[in-house]
Symmetry: C2
Subunit: 760 residues, 2 copies
C-alpha cells in the first residue's frame, strides 16, 4: 500500500522520520462530588489564575476542567506530561472533589441554569453565555480529547527540497496539500476510531433535549454521532482547499452560523494561529476533536491510543487517491460513522469486514515503513478489539450500566483514579525517573502555573517560565539565585572554613597537607590529646575518612593519611567534633527548615529480634531502595553487622525493651538514617548562625551542617563551641525536609519558586 | 643552650611551632631617573590613590616609595608577596624611572628644600614638614626594611595553658614577658645583624649635615650607627616593662621630644594598634627596624635573610638570663653595634670571636629544636659571611664604590633589577606556580590597590577586597558576577544549544544518543550527505571526537560512536561546520576581545626545513611548555608527523616558499596553535551575536566560540550560517587575549576587576 508520497519517502530513506511529528493534547473533564453530582465548589484556588495557567484551566462550566499539554515531538512525552498534570490537578482538588472519567457528563441539575458557567473575564463569560443560549448548557458539558498533530519538519523539508519543489511553489503549499489530504481522509475513515475509542454509550437521565429520543440500547459513542453529538448543523465548512476552508468559515461567521472559528465543532480543524494566518501561511497543524475520554486511562487516553492515532494519521496520508468527489466521500464517511456510533456495543459491528480490512492494511503499512515497535504493539491492541467487540471500551461500559446510569461506575472509577494518583505524594507521575526533589519542584511549578520544560531529563535540567521570565533549575535548587563562584567555594572545604572563621564562626580546627611528614609533626603539636578526623580534601560521601576518638599513634595516623590520599593528594586533618548533626536549610537568608539526622537505628520492644525490628521499620512506605523513596531502607550488610558485633549484638538477638540499637555511625539519610524535623524545636538563636554562614558564603540557597550539643539551650556567643559549623552545601537536599521520617513536612520546593518568581 | 621556656617547649613537644609565627615587612626605597638622581616625576597615577592603597604608597618624599606586605604565618609567603609588589611597582614606573637599591639615598639636590615632600593630605603633609624641620630632609631620605614579628598563637596558648598559667595572671602577661625579653636581647645582640646585613658603607656627597664628618673609609652600616643613622637622640624609651615603655613614650611626647610614638626611631618597637591598647591589651607584635636594603635582592632582603631573622629572634628568646642590668646590657649592645656599624668592611670584624661563638650557638639551637631545613640553609649562608668578611654585602659594596660614590653601582643595579622584573610580563613574581591568568588578575589587583588574599593557591582561589567589599575569584574569572546554574548549563552542550536555538541563533544541528542503533537510523536520515561530528556529550579537550567530512559508512559511524562512548555514555551526533573559529570574549554584555585561532602551522621560506621552521617559530619567548608561557610550543610528535605525512611532507622537507604547512587540525592554543587578535578587524555586526549568546545563557563573563566563513563581511540575518555558535564557556581563557601571538594585547583582567568593583 503506497502512493507517490510514500514511494518518495521510501526512496529518500525518510521512513524513520514518520516515527516523529509534533503532538499536543487538550483534555476536558467534569468535577464531581462524592455522590457523583457536579461539584458545587469553585475551581481550586491553589492552581492560581486560570486565565494565565498554561496547563490547567476551566472550559465552559466552572466544574469543567481543561488540561492542555505542551507540544512534543513524540507522544510519549505528551502522555508523561498529561499524567503529571492529571496528578497535579487531582492533588489540588478538595478531598471530596473528583474528576468524572467519562465524556458524557454526570447527572446534571434538572434546571440547566443551575449549571455554573466558569468564572472568567467578561468577554469570555459573554461567549459562554452565547454558547449556553445557542446549544443549551447541557450539550456544552460534554467533554473529550483534542489531539493536535503536525508532521515532522525535517520530513517535510527534505521531501520538498529533494523531490516536491518542482510541483509546489513553496514548502507550505506542499504541506498544505498533505494536511488537506489527511483531513479529508480522516473524515472519511474516522469511523474506525469511533469503533475503537467510542466510550459514551448513554447519556444520563435528563441530558437529552426535549424532543430528542435516546436510542433504546447503549451505543458506541453518542458523542461522536451527528444526532446526539456536539456538532454544528448549519455551518458547511469546505475542506477542498485551504482557501475554500477559510472562505467557508468566513461565510458561516458572516451568516451568524458561527460566532468565530472556535465555534466550529467539526471532527477536524485546519489550524494556524489565526484564520488570516491560515490563508497566508498555510496549515500549522491539524486539530482532531473526535475522541471520547477513556474512563480506564488516567489521562483519558492511553499511550497505545496516542500511538495508534499517530499511526492512523500517517496511514491516511499513505492511502491512494480515493474514488468519488470530496462531498461524496465525506458524506459516505459520515454515514458509516453515524452507523458505528449509534450501534449497540453488545454486538459485533455492522462494519466488521471493512474494519478488519483496514487493520490488515495498517499492519502491512507498519511493516513496509519499519515503524518503531510501539506502533505494532498499539496496533495489536486495537486489532484485537476489532476481532472481538467484547474488548472495546464501549462494550465494557455497556456492561457497567446500572439502572440506565453510569453514575456508580463513574464515581467508583473517579475515586480509585484519585487514590492511585495520590498514593505516592513524593512522586510526580510521568517523571518518576527524575530525582524526587526535581519531581516535587515540577509538581509545585505545574500547580502554580509556571511553564515547565525539561531540557535534559537525565541531568535534571528544567526551565521554568512565567510570561517572559525564564529561569533554569538544575537538581532542584541550583539556580540564578546563587553565584557561580559559590560552587567551587563550597566544594573547597578549606576556603569555606577560612571564610567562616574570618567572620567569627566556630569551625573545626585543622589544616591541609599533601605531605604526611608535615602532617605527623603538626597533629602531635596542634591537637594534643584531642580527637581527630583525617579526610581527603575533596570527598563528599564519607569515603577515605578516618575518625580517631583518642589521639592516634603515629603509625595509625599515617595509615589514615594514606587512605585519605587514595582519594585526594590533599588531606585535611581536623579536630573531631562530637554532638548531634543538624541540617539547616537556608533560603534568602532565612532558615526554612532544620533537620536532625540520626544514624540508622532501631528501638527494641523486648519482643522482636533486631532483624525483625529492621524489617518493621523498613515497612514505612516512605522507605525504599535506590532513592526512589524519600527515606532509604536500613540494611543489614557486613558494615551493619560489624557495628552490631562491636556492641555485642547479633541480628537474631532481642535487645532489652526501650534500648536504641545503632546500625551505623554516619547519619546520612541515604544510608537508612532517620530524619526528624526540628524546625520548631531548635532554639531560634541558632537560626542566626546558619543564616550568617549562608551570608558569609554568599549562598542564597544553602544547606548548613551544624553540630550542637543541645538544640534547646540558647546559643551563647561566649561559648562558640555550642554551634560548630561543619560545612555548607550549594545544592542542599530538599527531599529530607519535604518528607522527614518524623515531624512536620516542609514544602521548601515552593520557596524556591517564590524566590525565582517573586512577581507571581 | 636553653632556658625554662625552651625546656617547656621541648617537654610539650611544641618545637615544630617555632617554625611558624606572624610576619610582615615594610620596605622603603627612592625612585631615581636614568642618571641616578632623584626622580622628578610624581608617584605613578596607575597605582591609584596612595592613601588607600594597601600595599604601595609613599613615605616622606614624593620619590620615596613604601611597600607594605600583608601578615603571613611564614616568611616564604611574605617574600612572595613582596616580589609581586616589587614587580607591580616597577612595572608601574615610567620607562625612565628606577628604584634606587640602597638604603642611603642617591645624590640629593644641593638645596635640600628641592627634595619634594610626598603629595598627601594636609595632616600627613604637616607631619612631613615637621620631620623635615626637625631632622632635615636629607636624613628622612634614608630607606630600610621594617620586620614585624609575633610568635605563633598556638605556641603561646599551649605554653600558657599547659604550663605558664600559674606564673601569669593572663595569656597576654605571659606573651608580654616573652616579647620584652626578645626586644631587650635584640638590642643587646643586634650587632650580629649589623655585621651580616650592613649595606650602607657610605653616604653620597652632601648627605651629611654640616659639622658631621664622614668616616674616611667605607663602613658596614652608616644607617645602623648611632652617629650617622636615623635615631632619636633625646627621647629615652624604657624597655623594662610594657608599662615603663608606654610611660616613657608618653613622657617623651609630652616633653616634645617626639610628636607621637611613630617618631620613635629605635631599632625595635613594642606594637599594638595604639599606645593605649599596648598598655591594656599587651604587645601584639614587635617591629624590628634596623635593616639596610640588600641591593642584591629585588625585595631588599633575601628569603635567607628573612629566615635567619626569624631564627635569630627565636634564639634570642632561648638565651639564658643575661648578666647585668637592662641599662648596662643595652649600653653594651649599643657600643658593640656602633663599633661594627662603623668599622671598615674591607677588614675582618673586631668582634669576629663573639660572632663565631654566636653562630656556633645558633647552629646547636637549630639542631636541638629540629628547625626546618631552610633555617639551617640560611644559617649556613650567614655563617660563611662570619667566617669570611669578603662575603658580606658591605664588603662587596665597598668594592663597588667609585669616586666616593655608589651612583654608578646603584644605577646599574636599579636598571638590571627593573629589567629582570619586566622580562616576563605574563608572570607575577612570587606566584609563578599559579595559573597565568590568575597571576595577571592579581597583578592588576595589586596595582589597582585591592587587597589580595590567596585563599587556596593550588585551587586558584583568590579573595579581593576594597574597603569592606569582598569578592572571591576562582580561575581568574569565576566570580559573583555569574550565576551558579550557568556552570552546569554551559557544561551541558545539549541544553546550551537548545537555549541558543530557542533564541534564533544558528547552532550545529544534531541530537543526543545513548543507543548506537537509534543514532545510526537517525544520522542517515537527518544529515543526508552532510559532514558529521560524533562526540561524547561531556568532553572538553577534544578526546573521543570523530569528524566525518563525507557521510560515513555505517561501520565507521558505529566505530566513532563507540569511541565517543568510551568517554560518556551519552553521545552527540552533530553536523560539522566548516570555517575559521573565533573566540569572542564577552563581559557585561559587551565584546571585549575577539581572537582567531589557527591550528599549529609554519609558513615556509623556501630555505628552512619544516623541523627548522618549527624550531624558529618556537623561539618566540611567549612560547613554551606546560602552560608556563602564554603560547605553547609546536611539537613534532607522532600526531604532527602523521598529519604532515597525509599532506605528503616529512619534517626534513623544505616546502615551497610561502606555503603554509599545518601540523594539527584542532586550533587549541594549548596545542601550539596561533592566536591572532582580530577585535578591530571583525565586522562589528558579529559582536551582537556573541553578546546575545552570552545574554541568552545569562553569562556575564563568557567565551563564545563562533565559526564565521568571512569575518569582514557584515552578518546578514537571512543567512544565519554566517555565524554558527559552537559553544560557550563560563570560565573563558583570558591569557590568549592578554598575550596573543599577533595583534593587540587586550588587558581583559582589568575589566574583570572593574566589573567586580564598580565603586573604585
Amino acid at each position: 500500500m503506497s502512493n507517490q508520497l510514500f514511494e518518495t519517502i521510501q526512496q529518500l530513506n525518510l521512513a524513520p522520520l514518520l516515527n516523529r511529528g509534533v503532538f499536543g493534547i487538550e483534555k476536558e473533564g467534569q468535577r464531581i462530588d462524592g455522590q457523583g453530582h457536579l461539584s458545587a465548589l469553585a475551581h481550586p484556588d491553589i492552581l492560581g489564575d486560570r486565565q494565565f495557567h498554561p496547563y490547567i484551566g476551566t472550559d465552559f462550566a466552572e466544574t469543567q476542567t481543561e488540561i492542555v499539554s505542551d507540544q512534543f515531538d513524540n507522544t510519549i512525552e505528551v502522555e508523561q506530561q498529561l499524567s503529571a498534570l492529571e496528578q497535579v490537578l487531582q492533588a489540588s482538588l478538595p478531598d471530596c472533589d473528583y474528576l468524572w472519567p467519562l465524556s458524557m457528563p454526570p447527572v446534571l441539575p434538572a434546571d440547566e441554569t443551575q449549571i455554573p458557567l466558569a468564572h472568567f473575564t467578561k468577554d469570555v463569560q459573554d461567549y459562554r453565555e452565547y454558547l449556553a443560549k445557542r446549544y443549551g448548557r447541557r450539550l456544552q458539558m460534554v467533554s473529550g480529547i483534542h489531539y493536535n498533530f503536525s508532521l515532522d519538519s525535517t520530513l517535510l523539508a527534505r521531501l520538498y527540497g529533494e523531490y516536491y519543489h518542482d510541483q509546489y511553489a513553496q514548502l507550505s503549499d506542499f504541506s498544505d496539500a498533505l494536511y488537506l489530504q489527511l483531513a479529508q481522509n480522516y473524515q472519511q475513515y474516522r469511523f474506525v476510531l469511533t469503533y475503537l475509542f467510542g466510550a459514551s454509550p448513554i447519556a444520563e437521565a435528563g441530558f437529552l433535549k426535549a424532543g430528542q429520543s435516546a436510542p433504546d440500547h447503549p451505543v458506541r459513542s453518542l458523542r461522536a454521532s451527528q444526532l446526539f453529538g456536539y456538532t454544528n448543523h448549519t455551518a458547511k465548512i469546505d475542506f477542498e482547499s485551504v482557501s475554500a476552508y477559510v472562505t467557508s468559515m468566513q461565510t458561516a461567521i458572516q451568516a451568524g452560523q458561527l460566532i468565530s472559528e472556535r465555534e466550529f465543532y467539526g471532527s477536524v480543524r485546519l489550524r494556524s494561529h489565526s484564520l488570516a494566518s491560515l490563508a497566508t501561511n498555510g496549515i500549522d497543524y491539524l486539530e482532531f476533536r473526535g475522541f471520547d475520554l477513556n474512563p480506564y486511562a488516567i489521562t483519558g487516553m492511553t499511550q497505545k491510543q496516542l500511538d495508534f492515532l499517530h499511526l492512523f494519521f500517517t496511514y491516511l496520508l499513505a492511502l491512494p487517491k480515493q474514488a468519488g468527489t470530496l462531498g461524496e466521500r465525506l458524506q459516505q464517511g459520515q454515514a458509516v460513522n453515524e452507523q458505528i456510533a449509534l450501534e449497540n456495543p453488545n454486538q459485533p459491528s455492522s462494519q466488521q469486514t471493512i474494519l478488519v480490512q483496514i487493520m490488515a492494511d495498517l499492519h502491512q503499512f507498519i511493516l513496509d515503513y519499519h515503524f518503531e515497535p510501539r506502533f505494532l504493539a498499539a496496533w495489536d491492541v486495537m486489532n484485537q478489539q476489532v476481532l472481538d467487540y467484547q474488548l472495546t471500551t464501549s462494550y465494557q461500559l455497556a456492561q457497567a450500566i446500572q439502572d440506565h446510569s453510569l453514575t456508580a461506575f463513574g464515581l467508583k472509577q473517579a475515586q480509585s483514579m484519585k487514590q492511585a494518583l495520590l498514593a505516592k505524594p513524593y512522586q510526580l507521575q510521568g517523571y518518576t525517573d527524575m530525582e524526587l526533589s526535581t519531581q516535587m519542584l515540577m509538581f509545585d511549578a505545574f500547580q502554580k502555573g509556571l511553564h515547565v520544560a525539561v531540557l535534559d531529563r537525565a541531568d535534571q535540567f528544567v526551565e521554568l517560565t512565567y510570561q517572559k521570565h525564564h529561569e533554569l533549575v538544575k537538581n532542584g535548587n541550583m539556580t540564578s539565585l546563587d553565584q557561580l563562584v559559590s560552587l567551587p567555594l563550597v566544594d573547597n572545604k578549606v576556603v569555606t572554613k577560612i571564610l567562616l572563621a574570618n567572620h567569627g564562626m566556630r569551625v573545626p580546627a585543622g589544616a591541609e597537607y599533601t605531605d604526611v611528614e608535615t602532617a605527623v609533626a603538626d597533629y602531635q603539636v596542634a591537637f594534643g590529646q584531642r580527637a581527630l578526623v583525617v579526610k581527603p580534601k575533596s570527598s563528599n560521601m564519607g569515603a577515605g575518612i578516618t575518625t580517631f576518638v583518642t589521639r592516634p599513634t603515629e603509625a595509625d595516623f599515617k595509615q589514615a593519611f594514606q587512605l585519605a590520599q587514595a582519594y585526594d593528594s590533599r588531606v585535611l586533618v581536623e579536630e573531631y567534633i562530637a554532638g548531634s548533626e543538624y541540617r539547616f536549610l537556608v533560603m534568602n537568608q532565612k532558615v526554612q527548615a532544620v533537620l536532625e539526622r540520626v544514624p540508622a537505628n532501631v528501638v527494641a520492644d523486648g519482643r522482636l529480634t533486631i532483624e525483625q525490628l529492621v524489617a518493621k521499620k523498613n515497612d514505612n512506605p516512605l522507605r525504599g531502595e535506590e532513592h526512589l523513596t524519600p527515606l532509604q531502607n536500613i540494611r543489614l550488610g557486613e558494615r551493619e553487622q560489624l557495628i552490631l558485633k562491636q556492641q555485642g549484638y547479633q541480628v537474631t538477638d532481642i535487645p532489652a525493651r526501650g534500648s536504641q540499637i545503632f546500625l551505623l555511625q554516619n547519619s546520612n539519610i541515604s544510608n537508612g538514617g532517620d530524619s526528624v524535623d526540628v524546625t520548631d524545636e531548635v532554639d531560634p538563636s541558632y537560626f542566626a548562625i546558619a543564616e550568617q554562614a549562608a551570608k558569609v558564603l554568599n549562598l542564597n540557597i544553602a544547606g548548613i551542617d551544624i553540630i550542637m550539643p543541645n538544640l534547646y539551650q540558647a546559643y551563647n556567643p561566649e561559648h562558640p563551641e555550642m554551634a560548630v559549623v561543619l560545612e555548607a552545601n550549594y545544592n542542599p537536599a530538599m527531599l529530607i525536609h519535604l518528607f522527614p521520617m518524623m515531624g512536620k513536612r516542609r514544602r521548601v520546593t515552593k520557596k524556591v519558586l517564590e524566590l525565582l518568581f517573586p512577581e507571581m
